[in-house]
């Protein structure tokens, strides 16, 4: 058997290396630039779908299908296209002179020649698809040239793009309202009066070619409309006494958010707030005349009345594309009263009543999802206009969910030391705490900081830690208890005075009620400030605990256990392990965090393991805006060498955070980059380090279901799908690794784009599933392999809180857990 211990980001002090670059995007920019050029012809996902990554993978030439596991019959939200044009179709290029940008006008002009083109046509804005060949134009009435490009065979991927355009047209005909990319049914809107919310149900669809057939993938989607303007938000934050808005607070809540302007049905991103001007300020119209905003909206165009003349103005820099970030735009001024907020605000996310009501409505279980999708398919079958349109192209869809066989992988064994841990429905939280942890760190020198009047909470935490740590094998000495007031300043001063090089851990008791995800912005400042101090200025592992969570005696022990485990990880300990079946393999996880407030700064988290018998894993974390830099894999490798005296045999990269349409760029840039850094580390090495590169995608519309007792249900964790809805030119598969309580589970898509390790499908699938068990913050299975999730955590912490490079001495710790 394989000696197999996989510990992620564990306890060696130099094992991990972290590096931050806060620079401009490089790879991302490059990716964007190429995609922009291509965009007109091929939208995101279509471009990915024509990239043949399998052609280089000799070992899976025959098949990308595995055999292990128990077969299970599955259903998916794909509908087979049962009929489509079988003859060649003809593609024409349409040019306008002078050039016209507005897509609507373009199609308008073309459609004036409908008599000539014929009823049956698909136009995408620049090219035209026809089922017949055009006779030569006699006279060009409009300065519009129609140029024949090519005949398209029925299997051409280009054709599919046109079918998608056609399908969108159909959705429109079905009286669905287009908002952004998707279509929504306003007739079935649900109102939440007390939350000032309306939800429109809708659909996301795509017609694409998969393993054996072309399918229509359809999923349910919801559009949230908020009856709240930016003005409401500003006045809501006005101090009722001084009547002054809290400028900082308003900026925080508004900047980066997307607003919707009623009068022209457009969305803008708020980039700044102009407190100097107000709606009475004049601006220059395109004609050159000056007019105030009030007059403009009232008289000139929209008959809309602005009531509060003292409100500030919002500034939007216009549609933002990364690739265009250097082109100057004239900023657009918006009147808050006319700007409706979109999406869920943090405030709403924190309101459990809102979230409960929304979840009830939007989180559809498999049965309900099927019901909604059936409705869509039925309408398509029965709507006469739609049928007429489809018949023109001889397009037909199956009305039933596609069905095929998947496999449920064997349960993964979890080890704590020599002890195999029993899983109970993919949860081993109980088991982990009933015996010694895999690798224990004793707590000798540590501090607890507690806010004034919270000594009680702090001491009850210590007491419960005393109770739970012995069984887990953690030796714990007395902590130094320090009182602080609830400000960043107070925390940092105390830390400065008491943290020494010996200090292993700082426990911080906070008053705010949620630590990582969403804090009220004031509390977030506190959290950010402290984390920043402890990650950069005074690098020490730290554990934040929210005082309120210690209030309930019945959950105190569970929480103390969790805290003890987390602290153990942060100090370099390990909780459990799984068998990976690999020797000397290094795992790398990469994910990106896009900072919405400071548009430019995206951060890539890079986490790698470094260890020969796979015990201490080095993880190098590179957090930065660029894609990968050569030195990161290289440093990771060097660290590995330092610890193991030899290089790993194989490197397995799980890459998350890849947008649609970037697959080719990954093939062209990122993979070669890693390969070249492998070469540079050991140019003389006889045996090459092998590399497997897997693209991980969480945001997909494909869903899987199993039928049980006559009802559709979520598939069990460990279900693998590598037939029918995978692609012929990819080495790809889906895994449902996590289990969900309600709603429909989202499978994760894995695409092996480079593989010199030559994994068989069975092995890579099993390995991937096992890695999903290695996230220490959760004694259960997660959606993605642990390296990816650690990378995500790291990127998130840096992007959200620290905003700069953490101290290198922390690199070896899971400080971001």
């Amino acid at each position: 058997m394989f000696p197999p211990f996989f510990f992620f980001l564990l306890y060696n002090t130099h094992g991990f290396h972290i590096r931050f670059h806060v620079e401009e995007l490089q790879l991302a920019t490059r990716l964007q630039a190429t995609s922009l050029k291509e965009r007109k012809r091929f939208g995101g996902i279509f471009r990915d779908h024509v990239v043949d990554t399998r052609q280089y993978l000799e070992h899976v030439r025959e098949s990308t299908t595995g055999t292990l596991g128990r077969p299970v019959k599955l259903f998916t939200n794909h509908f087979r296209v049962t009929s489509r044009p079988q003859q060649v179709t003809y593609k024409y290029n349409i040019d306008y002179l002078p050039d016209i940008e507005d897509g609507k006008v373009r199609s308008e002009l073309l459609l004036q020649h409908k008599a000539f083109i014929g009823e049956c046509h698909i136009f995408d804005g620049s090219s035209l698809l026809l089922p017949h060949k055009l006779l030569l134009l006699k006279n060009q009435v409009v300065k519009l040239t129609i140029e024949f490009i090519s005949e398209l065979s029925p299997n051409s991927p280009d054709c599919l793009r046109y079918y998608n355009i056609l399908f969108r047209r159909i959705l429109k005909q079905m009286n669905l309202k287009q908002v952004g990319r998707n279509y929504y049914n306003k007739q079935e809107a649900t109102e939440f009066f007390d939350h000032k919310l309306v939800i429109w149900p809708g659909y996301v669809t795509s017609i694409l070619e998969y393993e054996t057939s072309i399918t229509l993938c359809a999923d349910v989607n919801h559009k949230l409309l908020r009856m709240q303007t930016a003005y409401d938000l500003i006045t809501g934050l006005r101090d009722p006494q001084t009547k002054k808005e809290d400028v900082e607070q308003v900026s925080k809540e508004l900047i980066g958010s997307i607003v919707f302007t009623l009068y022209n049905n457009k969305t803008y991103r708020v980039d700044a707030i102009n407190w100097e001007d107000n709606p009475r300020t004049k601006f220059k119209k395109s004609g050159g005349a000056e007019i105030t905003f009030v007059d403009y909206y009232r008289e000139q165009q929209y008959n809309t009345e602005v009531t509060d003349l003292t409100q500030p103005l919002l500034i939007s820099k216009g549609k933002w594309k990364k690739s265009q970030q250097d082109t100057p735009h004239k900023p657009i001024m918006l009147v808050p009263e006319l700007c409706y907020l979109t999406g869920l605000s943090d405030k709403m996310r924190k309101d459990y009543r809102v979230m409960r009501d929304l979840a009830l409505h939007m989180r559809l279980d498999p049965e309900k999802r099927q019901h909604e999708l059936r409705k869509l398919m039925n309408t398509i079958q029965t709507n006469r206009e739609v049928q007429r349109e489809l018949q023109l192209w001889d397009l037909k869809f199956d009305t039933n969910f596609m069905s095929f066989s998947g496999r449920i992988l064997k349960e993964v064994r979890i080890f704590q030391g020599r002890r195999a841990v029993r899983q109970l429905q993919n949860d081993w939280s109980r088991e982990t705490r009933s015996g010694p942890l895999l690798n224990v760190k004793s707590l000798d020198h540590w501090l607890i900081l507690y806010p004034t009047r919270n000594y009680g909470a702090a001491s009850s935490l210590v007491q419960s830690l005393r109770k739970v740590t012995p069984t887990m094998g953690i030796a714990m000495r007395e902590a130094k208890m320090l009182e602080v007031s609830d400000t960043v300043q107070s925390y940092t001063t105390v830390l400065e005075n008491h943290v020494s090089s010996k200090t292993q851990m700082v426990v911080l008791l906070l008053l705010s009620f949620k630590v990582l995800c969403v804090l009220s912005s004031e509390k977030k400042d506190l959290y950010d400030g402290i984390k920043q101090y402890l990650c950069v200025n005074c690098p020490t592992p730290s554990q934040c605990v929210v005082a309120r969570t210690l209030d309930k005696p019945q959950t105190l022990m569970t929480i103390a256990t969790k805290i003890a485990q987390q602290m153990n990880c942060k100090m370099g300990g390990a909780l459990w392990k799984v068998e990976t079946g690999l020797q000397n393999a290094m795992f790398i996880g990469i994910d990106c965090f896009h900072d919405i407030v400071n548009r430019r700064k995206s951060i890539a988290g890079f986490v790698s393991s470094i260890n020969q018998e796979l015990t201490p894993k080095g993880s190098e974390c590179v957090l930065e805006t660029t894609g990968l830099k050569e030195h990161e894999p290289r440093t990771a490798l060097k660290l590995w060498c330092k610890h193991n005296q030899f290089l790993p045999q194989a490197i397995i990269v799980y890459r998350d955070g890849v947008g649609d349409g970037q697959l080719q760029a990954l093939m062209d840039h990122e993979v070669p980059q890693i390969e070249s850094s492998l070469r540079s580390v050991s140019p003389n090495l006889v045996r090459k380090v092998k590399l497997t590169f897997i693209v991980v995608k969480k945001r997909i519309n494909t869903r899987f279901f199993v039928e049980s007792q006559g009802r559709l249900q979520n598939p069990l964790p460990g279900t693998v799908i590598d037939v029918e809805v995978t692609k012929r030119q990819w080495y790809d598969f889906f895994i449902v690794s996590q289990s969900v309580k309600d709603g429909t589970v989202t499978p994760t898509h894995y695409n092996v784009i480079h593989d010199t390790v030559c994994f068989t499908p069975d092995r890579i699938q099993y390995l991937t599933y096992r890695l999903c068990h290695m996230y220490y913050n959760l004694p259960g299975v997660i959606r993605v392999p642990a390296p990816c999730h650690y990378a995500h955590k790291l990127a998130y912490l840096v992007g959200q809180s620290i905003h700069q490079e953490p101290h290198h001495s922390l690199a070896s710790r899971l400080f971001y857990l």
């Binding site: 308008e108 109102e191 809501g236 934050l237 009722p240 919707f260 049905n265 008959n303 657009i332 009220s520």
Partner: protein, 387 residues
Amino acid sequence: MGENKECSSMVDNCEEVPTKEVIEFRPPLYKQRYFFVKNLVQQHKPKKVADLGFGDATLIWMLKYHHCIEHLVGVDTYAGSTSQWEISNLSPSVGDYLVPRDLDLTITLYRGSAVQKDSRLVGFDLMTCIELIEHLDSEDLAKFPEVVFGYYSPRIIIISTPNSEFNPLFPASTFRHLDHKFEWNRIQFQTWASDVANLYDYSVEFTGVGSPPAGAEHVGYCTQIGVFQKNEAKATESCISTPEEHVYETVFTTAYPSLQEKKNLLLVLSAEVLRASNSMRLRFIVDPKKKKVNGRLVPEDSCVPRYGLIVTDAQRAQIESSPKPYCVGKKFYVPLERLITFPKVNRLVDSVERLRSLLSEALKLNRDQSALQVDLHDHYSRTMLSY
């Protein structure tokens, strides 16, 4: 710069094209014509408006922003199957659902000619024939008054047509558009218009848009306009007796969401009520002076928001004199009698009874249904207090 731009039109208005040094209208002439119509709409507040010869539907699109209009109809012989532009600009947008109109609005486009009779066009308040009549041949022109003035007989008709006296100022000496069958001088138009007005009992006033350049004032406006008003407006309200005659083909129709629909009213009303109660709630929270009366915590302050929701002092006084909000336990109550004094709430419902019956369907009221009940603290006020 989307929203700050002038609307761009696809109309190929020949007047605007001629070489720059000759004449350039600002704003463009077609826009001046449309704004002329808009102003008249503003002034007369018509409910039913029809545009004969709607062309690219720009005027219809501009008119849809007027709240008074409930029926907006376009008729054009060239109305092909509706274009993307028309569909997307004339259809209700998300914004129209968020802020529904007060009154219903339906927009309908017909394919048909202004010299065919269709009973659906009878009984309108305003009909516009912008740059239409010059496209009619003599036979159709002869039929036109009978159909529009005699049969449709709207309260107001606006007819615009080129003024040929202006033409010498343009470089080309031909008609302004290839399809023009004629272009009249002022006397010709006014004679025709006065005759028609007399015959069908309308009074007519002449004006125009597109002022001539300095030194050429004698030629008059570039576009001449006749505004016809029916003399006995009230008497002919009863056009219902007209037999149904549907000649026009409907090419597009859409209905806008409005407050007439209860669902929409509830949504807007509850948003407005919550907005008002929220502003009072925040004032209540920070106000240190409160006293206990019958188990209720009542503020000494009047709890009137000082901004945004109120415009005039009279409105403020009215709110001040209404029952104060109060607090019991962790709940904050705002009497409906107070809510209804808020102008934006009052605009939506006129009586406390109606407010009560509506709100009871959407929000939480107290037991005797006299006040709105909300949580005293939300996330924001909690953090505000913790300072």
